[in-house]
Structures are given as C-alpha cells and as structure tokens.
Symmetry: C2
Subunit: 555 residues, 2 copies
Amino acid sequence: MSGERLIYMPLGGAGEVGMNAYVYGYGPKGKERLILVDLGVTFPDMDTTPGVDLIFPDIQWLAERSSQLEAIFVTHAHEDHVGAVAHFYDQLKAPIYARAFTANIARRKMEEHGHPEKAVTTVSAWPEITEAGPFKVGFVPISHSIPESSGLVIDTPKGRLVHSGDFKLDTGPVVGEPWDEALWQSIGDAGVQALVCDSTNVFNTHEGRSESGLGAEIEKLISSAKGMVVATTFASNVARVKTLAEAGQKTGRSICLLGRAMRRMIEASVETGVLTDFPSTISPEDAREIPRENVMLIVTGSQGERRAASAQLAQGKYNGIELKEGDLFLFSSKTIPGNERGVIRIMNQFSEMGVDVVDDSDGRYHVSGHANRPDLERLHKVLRPQIIIPMHGEHRHLREHVKLCKSNGMQGVLATNGTMLDLSGNRPEIVEYVETGRTYLDGSRKIGALDGIVRDRIRMALNGHVTVNVILDEEDEPLGEPWCEIMGLTEEGASRAPLVDVLEEDLSQFLGRAKGKTLREDDVLEDGLRKVVRNSAQQEIGKKPEVTVIISRLS
Amino acid sequence: MSGERLIYMPLGGAGEVGMNAYVYGYGPKGKERLILVDLGVTFPDMDTTPGVDLIFPDIQWLAERSSQLEAIFVTHAHEDHVGAVAHFYDQLKAPIYARAFTANIARRKMEEHGHPEKAVTTVSAWPEITEAGPFKVGFVPISHSIPESSGLVIDTPKGRLVHSGDFKLDTGPVVGEPWDEALWQSIGDAGVQALVCDSTNVFNTHEGRSESGLGAEIEKLISSAKGMVVATTFASNVARVKTLAEAGQKTGRSICLLGRAMRRMIEASVETGVLTDFPSTISPEDAREIPRENVMLIVTGSQGERRAASAQLAQGKYNGIELKEGDLFLFSSKTIPGNERGVIRIMNQFSEMGVDVVDDSDGRYHVSGHANRPDLERLHKVLRPQIIIPMHGEHRHLREHVKLCKSNGMQGVLATNGTMLDLSGNRPEIVEYVETGRTYLDGSRKIGALDGIVRDRIRMALNGHVTVNVILDEEDEPLGEPWCEIMGLTEEGASRAPLVDVLEEDLSQFLGRAKGKTLREDDVLEDGLRKVVRNSAQQEIGKKPEVTVIISRLS
C-alpha cells in the first residue's frame, strides 16, 4: 500500500531537556493511526515563568486528532516523561501502557486527578508485545537512573523503529536490569529503520561510569564523618538511594528517609518488587533519639528546591531534626543548569551552621543516568539503524548528535519539536512543520505561553505597578482629585516628596488641561493618564511602571 | 598608647562574591581614623531582585562616620571593587587612591555622575606610599585578570597589614607585572600582623595555571576554523583580549572589537600605558567587507548578558555583522554560577544558526584570575602573618579558608560582613557586630533591601495583581457596582466565565451583605474586599493574587 506512510514528530523534548512527547504515526497521509511516547513536564523559573506551577508541551495538534490516537507508552517514571499524563487525560483519553514501577507512579497521578486508574495498563518487559493499531510495541529494559527504564521497540508495516528512551550502558546498575548488549544486538539483527536516541550527554567524551562503582567511595566518606550524615539525591534514583543506605548501614548507621517524594518512591519500588533488599529504616522520631554519629538521613532536595527536606534542614528543623557543627552533608547529585543559586544558598546556610558540605565536583559521589558520547556510538553500532534521530536534548545537543552520526558514516537527522518526518523510505523526509510551544499550569488553569499573562507579571516585577483612579461626573468633568496607589515602587522620589503626591499632582494638572474630547473618551483619557504616570515616575525614580487606570463615570 | 586599637570590618564581600568594601581603623575606641578598601557592586537577578539595577553594600555605618574616613583605596578596576565609588561619593566625600588604570576607570565613573574627577588620585606602585591618617598604604602589584591589580601593604602603629586584593600567582600574566615572590617575601620579612586574603578558589585543589599557557591552544583552535571566528571574554581581562587578538593575528585574521565595554577597556589600557603592543584592529564596517575566514571578532557578553554583543549576535545582527553556518564562537571564560541559563540560551541560538560553539568545559581556553588552594597556601607561607582573615567569598569559602589555615598551623579567623575585629593583639578579638545588608539601585533611587518594595514585586510576579474599585456615596452606600481590573492573570476561570465577572459578582454580593460599620471604615472594607477577591480567585484559578483596593467616597 504505497499510500501509507510512517511518521515521527516530537511535540516536546527535541529542543530542550524536559517535557518529552514524541508522536509516531502510520497510515494514509492525514489519517495516520498514532501513538504517543511519553508525556512529561518541565519546571518553571523566575526569569521566564514566574508564578507558573508546571510547563507542558503544547499538545493541541494531538488533541485535535485524539480519535486517531491508539495509546500512550511511557518509557520511565521521571517527571519529564510521565508528569503530564494525568493533566491531559481528559483531552487525549488514550490508554496508557507502562511497566509496573512506571505504571504505579502513573496511577498515583491519575488518582490525584480523579481519573480512572484502569486507564493505566501494566505490561511486562520484552519479548511481551502490546498492539496499538498498526504498531507492535515492546518495552526493552535499559539502564538509567530510575527503576524499569525501557527503550521501546516499535514494529510497523514499514519496518522496525527503536525509541531509546533515556539510557546509559551500565552493567552494574545496583537496581534493575544491567545493559544487555546481546539482547540489543538481536534487536538490531532484525533490521532497524530508525533509532530515536537520547542526546543529553553527547558533549561528554568520557565513557560512562557504573552506579556500582560509587558504593565504596561513599562508604569511605561516611566512615570519616564524626557527626550525623545527611545525603541527598533524586528520590527517583532508587539505585542511588540504595547505594547510600547500604553505605550508611555498613558504617554502623541507622537510615532515615526524609521527604515525601523519597518515601513515595521507595514505597512504589517495594510495592512493585523492584526493590527487595533495602536496609531497614527508622522514623524521624527514632532518629532524634539515637546518638547522631549513628544516624544517616537520606533526603529530598538535591536541586535546592525551597520546600524540600534539604532546604528546610538548611534553614532550621525538619521533622524535629536539626543539623549542627561537625555534621556532614553530601550532595550525591549533579546540579542541573539553572539550579545553581538554590544549591549554593543551601551550601552557605549549612556552612553557617558548621556543617561540612561535600558535593560531586570531583565525580566521586555521582554518576549520570545518560549515555556519554562513546556510549551513544556503541548503541548506534549495536543497532545499525538506517536513520538516527536525536531527541532528548537542547538544539546544541541534537545538532552535535547529528554531527557525531555523520562523522561515523551514519545518517543523522535533526528534527526539533513540530518537525514531522516521513520515515517510510531510505532517507527521512521533512513533510510538515506543526506549530508547537508550551502550555503553563498556572494555579489550577492551563494558559498559553504566548497569552501575555506571564509577560505582564514579569513587567510588574521589573517595573512595579501604579493604579490610577479618576471619577468623572455626569458632565464628564473630574469629580475630586485623581488618586494613585503604588505597589513595588519606592515611596519617595527625586523631589523628596512622596511619589504618590507627585504623581497625583501631575495627573491633576493633566486633567485640568484636558479638553472635552479627552475626558469623554475612555481610551484617550486612559492613554493620557498612563503617559503622565510613566513620565513623572521616570523623572522622580528613573523607572516607568506598569499602570492600571480606572475611570469611574457617574453618568 | 594602650587606648588605641587597630580594627578591621568588612561591609561587603565577606559572605558573598561581589560588592567588596573593607574598613580598617586605628585610634581610640569609637574614634578610630578609618580607611576603606574597595567599594564595589554586585548584580541583581530575577529570583531575588527583579527590576533592580545594581546592588551595593549598605554603607550606613561608614556614612555616619564620614568625618573619620581618611581615604578610599581601590585595589583594581573590577566592578565588584570599584563599581560603587561614584554612587556613594556624596555620602563619603573621601579622596580615592588607585593606580593609573584603575584610576582611569574610576574617573570615568565619577564623570558620569557629575562628580569631580580630581577626587581620584593616581598613585604609583610600591614602594610609593600614601599616607592616610595613621595609615601608610602601598600598592604592591599582584597578578589577577585585569591590569594593575594590587595587594595593599597597610602599615599602622600596631604593625603591618596586608590586604591581598583579588590575586593569582602568575609568572606569565601576558599583561602587567608577574608574580614576584622575592618582593612579597621581603614584605613578609618585616613581619605581618594580619593578612586579609582572597578566598574565591579555596575549593580548587589544583595549582593555578598561567595566562601565558592559553595562546597556543587558542591559536590551534582558530587555525582549524573555516568561517568567521568570534571569541568572548570579560572586557576587563585585557590580557585575555590580547591573547585572543594575537592568536587571531597569527592565523591571518583581522581583529575587530565589538561591545562598548570592550572598546572602553582597551582604550583605558592604551591611555594608561598598560597595553603597548596590541594588534591593530579594524572597524565593524571593514569587518563586513573582508572575507569571513579572515576576520576574528572579540566581543562582550561572556556571561550571556542580554544586551551585550554575544547575545545580539545570537539573535541576529550586531553592528551589521551576522554569523552563519560554519562560523566558530569561543567562550574564553567561565560561566559564573547563576548565569548558566543565559549562556545556554545563546549557545542554542548559535546552534540553530549552524555556528559551532566551543566553551571551556575542558579547561583549555580559560584560566581563573584567582589563586587556587595551593597558591593560597603559598602566599600564607611567603608572608607568615600572625593572623589570616579570609575575605572575597561566600560563607562556605571563608569557612574553608579558615580550616585551611588551621590545618597548616596558622591562625585563621572567620569574619563576615559587619564583624568588627580588633587586630591589636596576638589574637584577633571580635569586638562588635554592626548591622549590614544591601542597598539597591532601583532606577535612579537607592532603596533598602528590606524595604518590602522588591518583595511586593516578586509577589506580583508570582501571584498576579487585581485592582478593585468601589465608590461610596454620601451615605456610605455603594454607588453602582464594584469594578475589577486584572494584570498577569488568566482571563477565564473554572466556571468558564470571565474571571473579572466572577470577581465583580462576588464583590457585589459582599457589598450587598455588608453592614454599615464595614462600609464606613476604609480599613475594614478594604480587608473584606481583598479577602473576597483572594478567595474567589483561589476557587476560579487556583491562585491568590495581590490586590489593590481603591475606595472612593463622594462625601
């Protein structure tokens, strides 16, 4: 059937690290049956998205085609892959497939949103296959920094696709299945049309290191500690939490987990059987009672998040536990770019308490969950795909990954969010550019990134805000004097008088000079008043504030 | 005279990297004659100081004692050391002393602010001495990342102090005087009561590298480039600019400097004679005319600053020059923590243009201007001071530096901003804690960090803003309906009606129920209206906005 085509289009994740969402389709042009791989979130920051709670990919294209959508496959339980499934369930209404641990996390999210948990189906690992329209999808275990991470084998009438998921090549991952080269070789043997491949660490030229190499170093560090030991890492990095806990146990310490996410992840791991021999833990109450040199806390907040356990310990108490001089705090983690300030703030707070802080600046207490450059090349060679499509990266990562493919004589193609590729032939073809973007969760509402709402907030944060109130009588004449209120502006300006007084005086003069037409037309009057405020403020305080004008007419 | 004492107190720089300001005093308690070393700024960020233009140390303590202040000595021309001299000249009115290059920069600042340039006195390097009350101060050349950086020898009736300034031990600094160990040894031979010492790189355990080692690597990189080459670094790092320019010249390229700061720094270097053999440069107009493989631009904006040349080239044109596929962009710099997002944004923009970006992740194209841990130990040993007081660092740096001193059997003391030390005896004594903090330059006004102004702006950025307007007649009865305006909030809430309509309806109901007392008292009414808005908004959009209430009474 020459009218059918095989398409690939990222809606998120190809142009940023975060909010992954990759569409595959097969069928006649425009009528393809679709599947979605992953549906994640990314996190806001004060610079560009103040007040925003979460950031989603804009999935409007897919929502408009929800009747074509067969299923959603989730590769692993990181927030940037599973975080949005419940938020868009109403719009997509597609069944969700994942392995047990990931499904457990997905179901918790569905439950929180009042959606049916049965929308999530647990599937077993390869060679089990899930059929979804024209697609046959298998979850192939691959090591990463969370249990049961999987690459997907997606068999289609036009050949086999492999979606790597987030991965590293770890033969000693501590928790979960090790990298199984023979298995992946056999998957490649059947012939791979396209590999859609993680690009996160493409700039790192070293071979990746194994999780299993960390335990001894961490144990040595803890042995040297005189007081309480606290370690932080991503709660979802269950292998690391286990490595830390075992190191603590071996050095004679009782383990206490702090932070909601930490407890939830360990709970999910035990429920789903991925974690069977975790050291026994004690409660925060017990941790307070025993000598501090016998305690190790493992806590949330490795990225300096303000409400997490690390930040709260740095500010004082958390669950009644307080750090003090001679304690040791270990960041068994890497700081994600953009989070440096928060992490450094915590380090300095601990320093003020006399707590010794150890981070991973020398690479001894953390390994990445993503494949470095030589490991990417190894996967390329094992699978020998016709086409390689880099994903999971900023533009610079994707571009570098394409260059890497080419330097090895392989065919790489750069497809950022919204780029639709036809993968039916020997060469990938760009067939469409779809408008994509970001959707913000703002409080309880979804808003568009380009709605101007966040832009207005940023302007208020930069410029402050002035409210102007004018009342006009039935004859369109000012009734009393104009009135100002300021927020986020200094109270006194260059003329040493209150800023509000100066603004009101200037507004009053403007109204006194204003002609009938100005006073009769709200738009004109509003414009005039706004200009007066901005110009006066500029003179007085050197800033042009945002202005809300309220004109009340008694007519 | 046993009633006299020698004091030291940082007002800025001891607890952060930035806004340096160190006070020294000698005399009877409370009547000490004072000098100030450095008076710098630090830079705002969106997280904590949106809309702020510059951050100064709070110098109120010193301003109240300006009659005791003999002089200000500026060690070097970095903004965090010289940036605030003009801003506080009116309050301090003290003569400013610096070496020629630093004085040149300081005078430009004084001129911009309309202050007398003659307030700045140029002094020669050690052994020249400037007397300031009981102090004899000499500028001893020491290598750093800007020309004519100096440590200060401060001789007092109670002994010799050494203020290291920012420094590294570079025997091949490319521009300026190399590290002269014999000279510093001789300064130490006279006996040093206290060393106040740079702490920035105390966590770096490697020996520092020389500026002179970079040229060959940079030349190799440029040789490999096919298109235009652009390099960025701090404009004030004149040695680096020279290293870059010479590497470009050797590979047959014409050099063009872009960015106001870049041209100003080179100008100041030439005017003051610190730079004598800089390669000849071409104008942007000429750079546009010659083949791009023969051009090298050296530009501002290594930290991703939005208005600098780098950011503008990343977005399109700058001075008519446009980068394109195959060009090379080199960050000959380190990204300061907190600036990662801005730098990464630029890298991705260049990636989209097909420009190859090289940064210093492998340490080949940049060396730090600060002494690493082994170099700090070397200065300690050369000077053999009675007391070491770490400065120029966050709390964690200062604490680590003190630990380093102790581990080497030396006496280190941790003194953060506002800690007054008496250095008269063999052991430093904390004699007072002075309240310190930060002052913001906001537009044209100085505001206090704790004034609440910036806090209100942050709140508006996080929560959005609602203006409520209510008019009451002579009888204190509502005249017409209440009226709302929103800014930075979504227009539609959970009930699918415009948010403004819902708020106005709820306000109207509240007013309908309100008793006479509520309506008569502005405070009570305002509180009530604010609560209605916050609760309704919480229900509708899941956010509690900031609210300005305007009550107009016709009475």
